[in-house]
């Protein structure tokens, strides 16, 4: 467990924000943690399996609406809402994943994008279920054995607990034989096939697992926002997840986790206007893709390799 000190340091850092006693700061950090989890889930499909999936945005929205509707319509608890969000997302991901993973990678990108847009259309136009643009406001604070997650600090630790669980799972998955197989498929699919690996079940598993992780993150996040409306499926969220993965380095677990915290917290702390922030995100994306195609983690890996080569000569 070479990474243990790194994990302990990250956790200690993540436990800090509420100590400053500012609700605003805690909220920013909370968003950062949620987005990091969603980005890490995207990293599973894009970074490990090499599938650029825009469907993550749809799963994020489905998760948010599922938990909100479970509580407001079915009278279930927050925890039941999370379970419903996870199950629905897994079912949807398996159902749509099977046909679209058969298509070429060019078509895959566009079809997953259309799926996300369809989800947004349903949220906006199926008024009898989702209340359309009005959204579902007044989501109650979650409770556990009489303990209410009513303040920003309490909610922050709830989110952090989920993040540790989800990131731990993704980390273990990335290091497992499944993670290795996914990487092998990404690098050379015909070669992996020639070794007796059938790519489809692995890709489908990665797609569905990332859908569940993203969906539950969305399901938790709407209860912090206390409202879910079609703007929760705005393309802005997808762009944020993607940028975190790209800057951190697709396929690098720690790169993505660090980039998540930095990328979300930085512009919030600087308090740019939303338009200007998106311009800066766009510029960062372009520059990163031109200069650091493998993200910060890839850049460091290249430096290390170069140093090793120099030492050998």
């Amino acid at each position: 467990m070479r990474q243990l000190p790194l994990a302990a340091a990250a956790l200690a850092l993540a436990a800090l924000p509420p100590a400053f006693g500012s609700n605003y700061l805690t909220g920013v950090a909370l968003s950062g943690v949620v987005f990091t989890v969603a980005a890490a889930a995207l990293n599973l499909v894009y970074g490990y399996a090499g599938l650029l999936s825009f469907a993550q945005l749809g799963f994020w929205g489905i998760g948010g609406y599922c938990s909100a509707l479970t509580v407001t319509r079915l009278g279930g608890s927050f925890w039941a809402g999370l379970l419903v969000a996870a199950l629905v997302n897994a079912a949807v991901a398996l159902a749509i994943g099977l046909p679209i993973l058969r298509t070429r990678r060019h078509a895959f990108v566009i079809i997953t994008l259309s799926f996300a847009l369809l989800c947004a259309l349903v949220a906006r136009d199926w008024v009898s279920l989702t209340r359309g643009p009005l959204g579902i406001p007044g989501l109650p604070a979650p409770r556990l054995f009489g303990f209410g997650f009513t303040t920003a600090t309490r909610f922050y630790y709830l989110v952090l607990a989920y993040a540790v669980l989800a990131l731990g799972f993704l980390y273990a998955l990335g290091g497992s034989r499944i993670g290795d197989t996914l990487r092998a498929i990404k690098q050379n699919e015909p070669l992996a096939q020639s070794q007796g690996v059938s790519p489809l079940p692995y890709k489908l598993a990665a797609f569905a697992l990332s859908a569940v992780v993203t969906g539950v993150a969305g399901a938790i996040y709407v209860f912090y926002l206390k409202v879910v409306d079609p703007l929760f499926l705005d393309f802005y969220y997808m762009q944020t997840f993607l940028i975190v993965v790209i800057i951190g380095g697709a396929g690098s677990f720690w790169g993505v986790v660090l980039a998540g915290m930095v990328m979300v917290a930085l512009p919030e702390a600087l308090r740019f206007s939303n338009d200007l922030r998106m311009v800066i995100y766009g510029a960062i994306l372009v520059v990163a893709m031109l200069a650091l195609p493998r993200g910060a983690a890839g850049w460091f890996a290249d430096r290390r390799l170069a140093a090793l080569r120099a030492a050998l000569e």
């Binding site: 894009y46 090499g50 650029l52 046909p99 679209i100 058969r102 298509t103 070429r104 990678r105 060019h106 078509a107 990108v109 566009i110 079809i111 994008l113 259309s114 799926f115 847009l117 369809l118 259309l121 349903v122 906006r124 136009d125 199926w126 393309f235 762009q239 993607l242 790209i246 206007s273 939303n274 338009d275 200007l276 998106m278 311009v279 995100y281 766009g282 510029a283 960062i284 994306l285 372009v286 893709m289 031109l290 195609p293």
Partner: protein, 295 residues
Amino acid sequence: MQLTATYLLQLTVNGLMLGLLYALIAVGLALIFGVLEIINFAHGEFLMLGAFAMAFALPAFGLLYGPALAVSVAATAIAGLVLYELFLAKLGQGEFERSILITMGISMILLYGMQYLFTATPRMVDTSFGFAGVTIGAIRVTWSRIIGGAVAVAAFALLYAVLILTQFGRAMRAIAQNRDAALMVGIRPRTVARNAVMLATALCGLAGAVLAPIQLVQPAMGQAMIFKAFALVIIGGLGNMAGAFAAALALGMIESWIGGFFDIIWQEAAVFTLMIAVVLVKPDGLFQRGGMRVG
């Protein structure tokens, strides 16, 4: 709503006009995919640039349609040249995901940059025609729509002639059909790719300029159209211009008819559900891309 022949005809005319606009965007996307094997995420923003160029050029030319149209087409072609030389030329073969992310970044810069500079408020664009129109029987169509449709038809006629008759167009088709063979007979891929991007963005700018007097002009106008255009390109078979054209015309009609009789959600969702249905049956789209023909 009473179903009359006039109402149906009105819907069809509107649908045809809409379909031609979709086609201007989708054919450009298909051209870029055919030659460069990338999808230009910023394509919708070129539509928006064309519309804004029209909005600024019209008052400058005393509301004259023709010169303003020429200016916006030229402006978007130049913007396409910049896009290619600065960004797309740096992409290697098979870097599909990277191309999407780069063009997505450019789209964000253009969209939110315009929103920052000019705010998201929609603006009206006036031409020398105003709201005058012609009435044929019981159907009324404004001049800006008629001329828009005529300009689109003329653009397609010109595009067809260029692709079939000129060396410029033949080289593009050659690369789209078989890259290696095209290189072997001495076609320069960089020049052809640059031409293809400029042609595609000019078509898109034309669509934006035509749209400006018909619709409200706002920074987000490209995004609504471009996602549909992506779906159209998939339905038509990636890189197949004729397929994209046919799919776009069909979609315009379908949307217009659906809009006349059903809720708006079906109109908006039609293209995406259609695409998913097509992909389930034929993963490579309705019209397969023209490979090498034998015999």
